[in-house]
Structure formats: structure tokens, C-alpha cells
Symmetry: C2
DNA sequence: GGCTATTAGTTGGTACACAAAGTAATTTAT
DNA sequence: ATAAATTACTTTGTGTACCAACTAATAGCC
């Protein structure tokens, strides 16, 4: 019987970048889970909060551009953030189609808590900052390269 | 008004590795979508097929270890692969708890089609092989570092 | 001004991903 | 040999992701 995986096997699972990307993404998100749980946030919700802490107020459309998510994903996510008491959702008086998403005082307060997270993750990963910067740089290249 | 994002802002969206990881993963998967669609596969299903082409037969447990997915995710995914006619699912005669997942002739045939995908993706990304290898290496480090 | 096209969000459908509860088969410990 | 613990998988519930269809509001065009 010939070897199942030849040296040149293009389809070998362990050499697929897309496979490594999926697993790395899920693995790192899993590290956030216990840290986010006390705030009641999922990882995508945390990313939305990051965007709001930095750029509030934001419309659903703007948030979608920042997070590269479509409105169909964000719409229910924002409702959950609202029912958690972290954001307000109201129509834009100048353009009733548009939704203005803002932070509640509670949502703003959460920022101080959230600031503990990045260092905790870096510590948990135990990778050097320069390596993480490298990673960030390559990922940015990939994101740019994959842009439609 | 003070600048929204200070140079040292730990929470700036665009410097979060987890954010770049999520988007890169979703962006790359999006490149696969049009290539997988003719075969009727989603990206997670494609990864399961990769694992099977390389290691068939596999139990749900083994597949879960390879793909780092739990049985609750794989169970319905495999049923869909079965209804597509690509895999068989039958109980292991030696241990009735265990499911033996094998490829159908149709599933095995699909491999030839699938071999066109990796080069097409690499071409579409337009990144050098060495850069992709770097990426794969860093991602492997991250996956290892994040292991529980 | 009124018709058309575009835009912003919402809703519903499919498919993960993960946690937790449930089931049936097998191991282990007594 | 049997009760208890473990294991492999299934099922259910929640929350994304993405697509497509839909609604309502605005912008463009004549």
C-alpha cells in the first residue's frame, strides 16, 4: 500500500493555511471566553464594544465596515448588547433609515474592566510581543490580499 | 476634545490580534466559498473531507481531534456529508458506541476536483509561498500556545 | 412634484461552534 | 458478576455568519 500522504500532497490537512487560520482563530477566541464571561459578552460582542469605545457613535453600516460583518449579523448582536444594558439603539433624526448606536454609562464603565483583557491574553499565550506584532502584520497582509 | 485613540490605547480595535485573526479567517474562508460551492461543500465540510481523504476511516472522536471540533458540531456536519453522498456512517462492530466514517466512491472521486483548490487560493491571494509558510508557522505557534 | 433607484436595517433560513443534558455501550472496580 | 464510572455520540439551546427577501426612508431624475 502506498503511503497515504506523499511529500507533495497538496491536500494534507496539516499544511493548509486555511485550516491553521480557523483553528488559531477559534483557539484564541476560546482564551477570551472565561475573561468575557463575567461581563456577559461573547467575543464578537466584545469586538463591537471595542469599536464603540473607540468610535462611538456608530451606525450599523459603519460598525459593519469596521468589523467586516453584514447588517444581518450585527442587527441581533446589537439588540443583545442593548438588552445587556451596554448600548442604546435609536434612529437618526436626520435620516430615519440609519440607526445610531451609542454606549450607555454602563457600557462606558465596562471599558475599564476590558482594559485588563489584552495583557491577560498576551500573558496566557506566552508569546513575545515582537512575535505577536509579526503575526498581526502577516494577518493584515492576508486580510488585504483577500479583499474582494 | 482629546484624541479618541491614544498611542498607547490597549483596546484600539486595529491592534488586536484576535480581531485580525477573526477577520483573516473569515476572509480566507470567503475565498473558498465560490470554489467549494460547485461541490456543495461548506468550508468546515471541506476540512472534514481533507481529514478523511488523508486518514479514512475515522471515528467522530478522531475527526474531532484532527479538526479540533467537538462531537456536537461534527455529528450534524457528517449527516450532511452523508446526505450529499460523500460519506458513509455506520457503527463500529467492535464497539457499538463508535461511528465509522468512510468515504463513498463519490466522496473519493471528489478528491481530484479538490486538488485544484489550494493552488487557486494561493494564486488568488497573490502572496509568496515563503510568506504563506511563515504565516503557517506563526499560526502553529499560536495554536500550540493557546492549547489548554 | 412624483416616480424610480438606492440605501439602511430587519427578518428568516441554513450551517457552524460550543456548552450542557441525555442515551447507550463498554470498562472498571468491587 | 454486577454496580458504578467512563466513553462515544446525539440532541437541544444560544449566538454568530452569511445569504436572500423584505420594508421603509431618502436621493436622483424627469
Amino acid at each position: 500500500m502506498e503511503p497515504v500522504t506523499e511529500p507533495t500532497d497538496l491536500l494534507a490537512l496539516d499544511r493548509q493555511v486555511c485550516f491553521a487560520l480557523s483553528i488559531a482563530s477559534r483557539s484564541v477566541i476560546a482564551l477570551y471566553r472565561p475573561l468575557l464571561q463575567p461581563m456577559g459578552l461573547t467575543h464578537p460582542q466584545y469586538l463591537a464594544m471595542l469599536a464603540l469605545w473607540q468610535h462611538e457613535p456608530l451606525s450599523v453600516k459603519e460598525l459593519g465596515e469596521l468589523l467586516q460583518l453584514d447588517a444581518g449579523t450585527l442587527s441581533p448582536l446589537l439588540k443583545r448588547l442593548q438588552s445587556l444594558g451596554y448600548v442604546n439603539r435609536e434612529r437618526n433624526a436626520r435620516d430615519e433609515r440609519s440607526l445610531v448606536v451609542t454606549l450607555t454609562p454602563e457600557g462606558r464603565r465596562l471599558r475599564a474592566e476590558a482594559e485588563k483583557i489584552p495583557p491577560a491574553i498576551v500573558e496566557r499565550l506566552g508569546m513575545s510581543l515582537s512575535e505577536l506584532q509579526d503575526l498581526h502584520a502577516v494577518l493584515s497582509r492576508v486580510i488585504e490580499a483577500a479583499r474582494p
